[in-house]
């Protein structure tokens, strides 16, 4: 914290929020310049969790990078696995059997439930509720993590998907348990919404706070729920039609104002749509193999070329850009991190607001530092 002098505003106060700060969701840092309580400048500072994921991936085999992708956005390891598998399959020309496609959809949507319910909990933490909604969210999260654990062996770092399919075929008991959990999930959502959505304090703190325009958001590369909160209908599950998403009936919820409240509601509505997708997937899950017979684990050498695979992660468009030089290691391995790029507009959203609003806006954008800094 230090005083700075500005010729327009007079004496200003520069506050460094983070990297150790209860509301920055990890080791994120913002250098905020304040005029009284108003923000006149906000500069995000990154890199406190820069773990050199890309450099490590370029010096190791394609398969060895798979467990590292778990640790990118550590709340959504299943979607990260899928995005990477998608890019490698595109690079190597692999196909994925039907059952594996369905399993991937199931895992990705379960991950979306985990991510969005936790995000709402964290957002309310930032609003000052001190842990209560998070406890509800983590209660449900634990149930889903138990499913992941019994299937893949680990609660968070699933390392479940492989190029050309999935690693483990879930037994019928697992599917029954998962299906029962999904059927009960709307009850949790109802409870959650009764507790939170009508809350007057929450409405006052979020409605009209940090509004984002559609054109502004598109130009800044905002994706995911933050983009759809502005009313832009762009969901890669519909646009790219990857996986078997065209087979499922679901709607893409759209906001109107692009403010913090819309961003919050996007998450709630998307969870309801995810439940619909999951119920269809459990009904229609076909029998069959879960791996492409052409795929091999060790010594995978795609032909020279490049591929950009992307999917609709819970936080936005997660992309992997791979360049193969024909060897066992990728020549270039690039992660397109939605968390980082969604922060592009953070300063614009916060200008003129108070520091308490900045915390809420940051919470509603939904970042995970493992992905921001990689």
């Amino acid at each position: 914290m230090r005083a700075v002098h500005d010729e327009f505003h007079g004496d200003l106060l520069e506050v460094s929020m983070g990297p150790q700060h209860p509301s920055t969701h990890g080791v994120f840092r913002m250098v905020v310049t304040l005029d009284g309580e108003q923000i006149v400048k906000l500069k995000p500072v990154f890199g406190y969790l820069h773990r050199n994921h890309e450099k490590i991936a370029e010096s190791t085999s394609y398969l060895s990078s798979m467990p590292y992708t778990d640790r990118l956005d550590y709340l959504c390891s299943m979607s990260n696995n899928w995005a990477y598998a998608l890019a490698v399959e595109k690079l190597g020309g692999l196909t994925v059997p039907d059952r594996a496609q369905y399993l991937r959809v199931i895992m990705a949507e379960l991950t979306r439930l985990v991510n969005h319910s936790c995000l709402v909990g964290f957002l309310f933490n930032d609003l000052g509720t001190s842990f209560t909604p998070l406890l509800y969210a983590f209660r449900e999260r634990e149930k889903i993590l138990d499913l992941f654990e019994s299937l893949s062996g680990s609660r968070m770092m699933c390392n479940y998907q492989r190029f050309g399919g999935c690693r483990v075929d879930p037994p019928p008991a697992w599917l029954a348990a998962a299906s029962a959990l999904v059927d009960n999930f709307p009850r949790f959502l109802d409870e959650y919404e009764t507790m939170l959505t009508g809350n007057e304090i929450m409405l006052a703190r979020t409605q009209g706070i940090g509004p984002m325009g559609a054109a502004q958001a598109i130009n800044a590369g905002i994706t995911g729920p933050c983009l759809r909160a502005t009313g832009v209908d762009y969901d890669l599950r519909k646009v790219d039609a990857y996986g078997f998403y065209p087979r499922f009936n679901f709607r893409v919820p759209l906001g109107a104002h692009g403010d913090t409240y819309d961003r919050y509601m996007m998450r709630i509505l998307e969870m309801r749509e995810s439940v619909k997708i999951l119920q269809q997937a459990f009904r229609e899950l076909p029998a069959g193999p879960i791996m492409d017979p052409k795929a091999k684990l060790r010594g995978f050498r795609p032909k020279v070329g490049e591929a950009y695979g992307r999917l609709e992660g819970p936080k936005g468009e997660l992309g992997f850009y791979l360049i193969s030089d024909g060897s066992t290691n990728p020549w270039r391995y690039r992660v397109r991190p939605p968390s980082l790029i969604n922060l592009t507009l953070l300063e614009e959203l916060c200008l003129g607001r108070t520091i308490a609003d900045a915390v809420v806006i940051l919470g509603s954008i939904d970042i995970v530092l493992g992905e921001v800094d990689r």
Partner: protein, 240 residues
Amino acid sequence: MSNLTPPFSPGASPQDEPRRSPAGEGGPAAGNISDSEREDLRQHGILLTSLEELYGWGRSNSIWPLQFGLACCAIEMIAAATARFDIARFGAEIFRPSPRQADLMIVSGTVTKKMAPLVVRLWNQMPEPKYCIAMGACAISGGPFKQGYNVLKGIDRLIPVDIYIPGCPPRPEALLHGLTELQAKIRAEHVSGPQAARHLQADSASEFPIPDYGAHDLEPPHNPDLFKPPASPRAEGLKN
């Protein structure tokens, strides 16, 4: 596999317990009761304690950790604080946002070189007595990311660590296990004498030098007074 010696074991080696006279057989004098006898009395409803033990018991059950998450392990740390694992059962649920109010730093996640000076600064800001748990592979050794150019290969290069909890990430139960080990360690600490706890010894360091950002690496990259790795087991008979 636990490498902790039982911290408050009844007959710890005699040089550890100089004040305890070896009067076991002939009936103990007052104040010289062996632990087994004390346990015996406890079962009969008679509670004997020393001020030291009471002090240790109180401290070990009111550890306030620093609210400070670095990476993936932080999520498991939060999970340990939620209803299912409920770290409050061990008196450690009060995560303090300020280092000035915290007793325990749980280094939960990868410490990058950009973050390392700040971790040391936070550690220096914590008042004594303070403890450090390195949670997860990254905090212990850099873990899977140790090959990275910006990853510190273990937080024990810069600050002292009391308990290491391996895992990637460790389950919340593993964190609770590590916490109980730390509690045992705190309970076994003495308040006076040559075996006094680290923070009560006059010559023990409480603050550690904060490394600077250099042109290529941290300067210094580790604290040579603190980080003394043994000779590598690979020193002899290297594979070519």
